[in-house]
């Protein structure tokens, strides 16, 4: 559904012969696409307007750098402006005497309770003791939910059922926090609408008595244009100190983050990326910027690879790739490395421009495909793997028998492999993207 901005801009600029300087006309054409991409990503339209104006100012008349195409040049400027808007990553403020009070606020269903548990767990990893406080007495079983999470993680939870008012619960919890020498007290408040007078007043009350060092707005990454009103509403009543974006593991572009950041000016502190209690990450502006522009999440992929792939082996591989000396044996090794990293579809999503292309592939299909490729290569001799040209009709028949496949399947693999080799050469000499190669491979 969404195409990467870069692809769209490429199409725009292909029509223009002009090179060198970006003319006003070029920029306006490009900015129309930029505007669409940002709106599709749920960035608030007013924020889009401001951003586009800033990009325009910077882009008109700019000399296109030697190494870049005009499209890349514009994307670069947009990316930089997004980065500026998203701001620097920030950590929890732990200055001053303990216990530090962290209050989580937000709409219903944004993920406050789960986030509270995740925060407590990540604090424990840095040797900080946290006390979770169940101050949501409204939603049925919210208190139980926090208690269950606390028990699972072995983190203490302060709860007093649902009969006592939240400010009162918080008062007791603070005392317990001080007496128990906790480092951090995390307040899980009830979800509320920013326009609900009564509920917002309750938050102010809690704020007045607890003096939280951090008041974090927990917001769903899938939020639409409304994000601006929500952030503004909460910021006006209880001064926010930061944002936490949840459900980032879905396919939402997360443009809401830009909107909220722009209207509040407070930093984004964490991203929640899964249902498991350890699925919370510090915020990296460049990754989110790329994601909002639909450019994939190459950095996360590289990081993931870093966790599983042997660095030296990877470097040898890269050298081979660049020189075009990549053979089937390397290919097999590569496949095995990739398999260690998790389901293929998830990895492909992180590659720029690939996200949407792989959406339709079920992982078991691709993984089955991978197993088949492995079987074929395993049935070849070392010589055949190093030089696929050796594969004549007789050898193909043998390999087909050995791997339980058919000759046409082997031909397919060899063809794809040749294409890939060609592509790698092109890439290393600065050609176009990976998309074609990958979609061919898993057709």
């Amino acid at each position: 559904m969404f195409e990467s901005l870069q692809t769209k801009l490429n199409a725009v600029f292909e029509k223009l012969a002009s090179r060198g300087r970006l003319s006003e006309q070029d920029v306006d054409l490009a900015l129309r696409e930029v505007r669409l991409a940002l709106l599709e990503a749920d960035v608030n339209f007013k924020v889009v307007k401001q951003l586009v104006a800033r990009v325009r100012e910077r882009a008109v008349g700019v000399e296109v750098m030697q190494s870049l195409t005009p499209a890349q040049q514009v994307v670069k400027i947009v990316h930089e402006e997004l980065l500026k808007t998203l701001g620097e990553p920030a950590r929890l403020d732990m200055s001053g005497p303990a216990p530090h009070v962290v209050m989580l606020v937000g709409l219903q269903g944004s993920g406050k309770t789960t986030t509270a548990a995740k925060l407590a767990l990540s604090l424990r990893k840095s040797n900080k003791r946290a006390l979770l406080v169940a101050a949501d007495t409204y939603r049925p079983a919210a208190v139980t939910q926090l208690e269950v999470l606390g028990k699972q993680l072995d983190i203490p939870v302060h709860s007093e059922g649902t009969k006592i008012s939240p400010p009162e619960i918080v008062r007791h919890a603070l005392q317990r926090g001080r007496e128990g020498a906790y480092d951090v007290v995390i307040l899980d408040t009830a979800g509320r609408l920013q326009i609900s007078e009564e509920m917002m007043h309750e938050l102010e009350e809690i704020q007045a008595l607890a003096h939280p060092q951090e008041i974090l707005l927990v917001a769903d990454a899938m939020t639409g244009q409304e994000a601006v009103n929500v952030a503004k509403g909460f910021h006006e009543r209880v001064k926010l100190t930061g944002l936490i974006l949840t459900k980032v593991d879905g396919d939402a572009r997360g443009g809401a983050a830009i909107s909220m950041r722009e209207v509040t000016g407070v930093p984004i502190k964490f991203l929640c990326v899964g249902e498991k209690t350890d699925a919370i990450e510090p915020f990296y502006p460049d990754r989110l910027a790329s994601r909002i522009l639909g450019m994939g999440d190459m950095l996360s992929l590289i990081e993931k690879a870093g966790e599983t792939v042997d660095r030296a082996a990877a470097e040898t591989m890269t050298r081979k790739l660049v020189k075009g000396q990549f053979d089937l044996e390397d290919f097999l090794k590569q496949l095995q490395q990739i398999k260690k990293m998790g389901p293929l579809s998830q990895l492909l999503e992180m590659i720029p421009g690939m996200g949407r292309a792989t959406k339709d592939l079920a992982p078991d299909v691709t993984d089955k495909q991978v197993r088949r490729i492995e079987a074929i290569i395993n049935s070849m001799t070392i010589d055949e793997r190093r030089d696929p040209h050796l594969m004549n009709a007789g050898r193909k028949r043998r390999v087909a028998r050995g791997s339980g496949t058919t000759v046409p399947e082997i031909n397919d693999l060899l063809n794809q492999f040749r294409q890939m080799q060609r592509l790698m050469k092109q890439m290393s000499s600065g050609g176009r993207g990976l998309r074609g190669a990958f979609s061919d491979m898993f057709r």
Partner: protein, 315 residues
Amino acid sequence: MFGLFRKTAAQQAEDDAKIQASLSKTRQGFFGRITTIFQANEVTDETWDELEELLIQADLGINTASQLVAHLRERVQRERLKRVEDVRAVLKDELLKLLAAPPVMTIDEPRLLTVMLIVGVNGSGKTTSIAKLARYYKARGKKVVLAAADTFRAAAIDQIKIWGERTGVEVIAQAPGADPGAVVYDAIRASQETRQAELLIIDTAGRLHTKYNLMKELEKVRAVCARQVHDAPHETLLVLDATTGQNAISQAKHFKEAVQVTGIILTKLDGTAKGGIVFAIEQELGLPVRFVGTGEKADDFAEFEPKAFVDAILD
């Protein structure tokens, strides 16, 4: 039997009033401003741009918004409309057209056991919506049973049990971590045999539509329904938070593919967000809105009426 569960005139009026009331904030907000735009006498290029922006701001999405504006513009020109009132009427007409005429809901059709499957992403409001549905159909004379098939999220079972007590509806549950398919199997058997229920509403765990394994799990739950009861699930409703932006289309698409969603419950309509994405979903995927959640109480709930919805937005 058939007519018994149809809405009475009084219920209809009550439902309309709820949609009106919950949307009154919208009227003063985004959509209200659309009306203001047309109150200026001359319709200029800027008027159209501004209109498009307002539609975008209501989360209709760039595609739907620009198509709608283009269409409206064309009609206004063709029909030589000058008066702001006429333009407004045409806008209302076009918005209503986007919501089309949805097929009739099949929940009320006479059958031994009707099965309703409720799905959605995390935090969209499934459990609360189920409580409201239970209350809604109980008030209309049905014997309702709930199945607690969200066995994953901490305390989800407790949450639905509390709602069950509050609404006086039986909840069939197993221990946390149990296989949701097994819970559904048991719930259907119990509904058919010991409980003599007419309507079984199944609560499922929230899941992001991009999680392959979790979507497979949901397909399995659906398969269990289909195997146990003829034509089940008779309605599969996707619970959608009205504050959701463009990602709602992706959600609807994936859930539709996996479990043949038949309609939408639009929740949290009591905020300032007004679920304009519903227009895009209806247009792109043909999924009608069936119910709206208009607040936190169990009776803050109404059947969706396209006309009331659009009327409330523009009048």
